[in-house]
């Protein structure tokens, strides 16, 4: 990790701290597939970190470890200084695929978080309504997910996660399936909502531009199998940012060129492996 930026000052315990985390899966044929090898990553409270890497590099695996959805095969994960065993109760997770409950209306989907936590239904609904307005879908409360566009579903998903006010936000290529314009709008919406109370964010993407535009730090992973973290850059662009405008910034372009130089080699490697397999 010669190119790494200096590690975060650890005056307080990080929101997410992964130490030497490895993940291996048992394959159906009995072999062992190492998805991630010895990944060490810290996300400070209030910090927005993106992980970028080629397809199939185990980015999502790393996120699932932070969420507590899968346990690491080796190493450990700490959340605010406490060893993570089981689900990460302090995290909200925005999935890549559609994760809304199809049998619930938009309003019910957003209200389910507080309801689960024991808020009286009436109150949960009022709260959910406010959140729907915040994501710009105030009048769509009674629609079912299949009646909404992909972008609208992502907005509902964002409201569903943020209404619970998690301390950590985990996002797995959340805007991947969307078209370029919608992605930009969603990115700005996310930054808007995030700047209100600066949660720690771990954001997975394969889009380097998106990563730089959104984040405080960009982490690069190598092509799988046995992906490692091979780079860590601090993004020193001022906030608040506008996704479209920040891309015209000179600092943005310099950084983009610098990171792309590293990433390109891995992307090529990744494709060679996928296609050679």
């Amino acid at each position: 990790m010669a190119e790494s930026a200096p590690a975060q000052p650890s005056t307080q315990s990080a929101a997410i701290a992964l130490q030497q985390v490895s993940v291996a899966f048992r394959l159906p044929d009995g072999g062992l597939y190492t998805a991630v090898e010895q990944a060490t990553l810290k996300v400070a409270d209030g910090e927005f970190v993106s992980i970028v890497g080629p397809t199939g590099c185990g980015k999502s695996t790393l996120l699932n470890i932070a969420a507590g959805l899968i346990p690491p095969s080796a190493g450990r994960a700490d959340i605010f200084g406490a060893h993570l065993l089981g689900l990460n109760r302090q995290a909200g997770y925005l999935f890549q695929a559609d994760a809304l409950f199809p049998w619930k209306t938009a309003l019910e989907n957003v209200a389910i978080g507080p309801e689960t936590a024991g808020t009286p239904p009436q109150e949960a609904r009022a709260h959910a309504k406010a959140w729907l307005t915040r994501v710009g879908l105030g009048s769509f409360g009674d629609r079912y997910p299949h009646m909404l566009s992909g972008g609208q579903r992502k907005r509902i998903g964002l409201a569903q996660v943020l209404i619970r006010d998690p301390k950590i936000l985990l996002m797995d290529e959340p805007f991947g399936p969307l078209d370029a314009q919608t992605r930009q709008i969603m990115g700005n919406l996310l930054l808007d909502l995030w700047s209100a109370d600066r949660k720690a964010v771990l954001f997975i993407t394969h889009d380097l531009e998106e990563a730089i535009a959104l984040s405080d730090r960009v982490v690069i992973m190598s092509a799988g199998p046995a992906s490692r973290i091979i780079g860590d850059w601090t993004v020193k662009l001022s906030r608040p940012r506008d996704i479209a405008e920040v891309k015209l910034d000179a600092g943005f372009n310099t950084l983009h060129r610098e990171i792309w130089h590293t990433l390109k080699a891995e992307v090529v490697k990744g494709y060679e492996r996928v296609e050679g397999a």
Binding site: A67, D98, A99, P102, W103, K104, T116
Partner: protein, 263 residues
């Protein structure tokens, strides 16, 4: 293919008119000296219609319709309830499911008609032996659908529910249950249809009332018009029930894309 409602309806009615006319003509007028549909075996539309008219005019049919309807509804309700319960249980307890798997397959492979005499023996000639036969048909359809529904909950939705902090009970209520019900409802037409089949076949094999009984009685005295009349009333009965099911389904599955409803 697009067709206006009016054209479609006209064509549909045309099919009925031509079929009935052909039936009438072939049963009445000889072709090259032969009546192709001898009235003794095929009756004719006029006799069938007048038989149906008599049934409704005198009101005897209502009693039989009510009996068949009661049996069908009971078979459907009991079969569905059992299917949901066991389907849920097996899906959540893979070990139990594995143990019972061969027996479930065996029971499902059995042609249910052979059970009719047993049920008549156990439960008598009244409605319950027919209900039992219907239940054995409905149960398996609902069971397999609910089992599938619970097992095939989208892993993403499930992971999302867990990340949203749901307990096991909440997962049941907000994820597994709606998913299982949606699968059950998607098989509603089939299971309701089978409930009617169970009732009618049961009546046909031995009973004192119902549409199946009516058909069987007519057949016993070579009253072909009566057999056909019974069949037509039964067909109309099934269509009415099916329309009712469609309405219920529309209300219950509003959250589904329309295309998925057409199974």
């Amino acid at each position: 293919m697009t067709m206006s409602r009016f054209t479609l309806l006209t064509l549909q009615i045309l099919v009925a008119v031509i079929s009935v006319w052909a039936w009438y003509a072939l049963a009445t007028y000889p072709v090259f000296g032969h009546v192709l549909l001898p009235p003794f075996f095929f009756s004719n539309p006029v006799d069938v219609a007048s038989q149906i008219y008599v049934w409704f005019a005198t009101g005897v049919i209502w009693k039989h319709l009510l009996v068949t309807l009661t049996e069908s509804v009971l078979a459907f309700v009991i079969g569905s309830f059992g299917g949901v319960l066991v389907g849920f249980w097996f899906a959540r307890q893979p070990r139990t499911a594995a143990v019972f798997d061969p027996y479930v397959k065996m029971a499902n492979a059995l042609p249910r008609v052979v059970l009719a005499p047993i049920f008549t023996l156990w439960l008598g000639l009244g409605i319950w032996s027919k209900v039992a036969l219907g239940v054995t048909l409905v149960f398996f359809i609902v069971f397999f659908n609910v089992y599938q529904g619970v097992k095939e909950v989208s892993p993403t939705v499930l992971a999302n529910a867990r990340m949203l902090g749901m307990s096991k009970r909440q997962l049941m209520r907000h994820v597994y249950w709606p998913s299982a019900l949606s699968w059950m409802f998607s098989s509603l037409h089939t299971s309701v249809g089978f409930a009617v089949v169970g009732a009618v076949v049961g009546e046909y094999l031995g009973s004192a009332a119902g549409l199946g009984y009516l058909i069987q009685q007519a057949e016993g005295v070579f009253d072909v018009a009566g057999v056909f009349a019974g069949m037509f009333v039964l067909a109309a009965f099934v269509i009415v029930i099916d329309m009712f099911v469609t309405v219920v389904e529309r209300r219950l599955l509003v959250w589904r894309p329309v295309a998925e409803l057409r199974t």
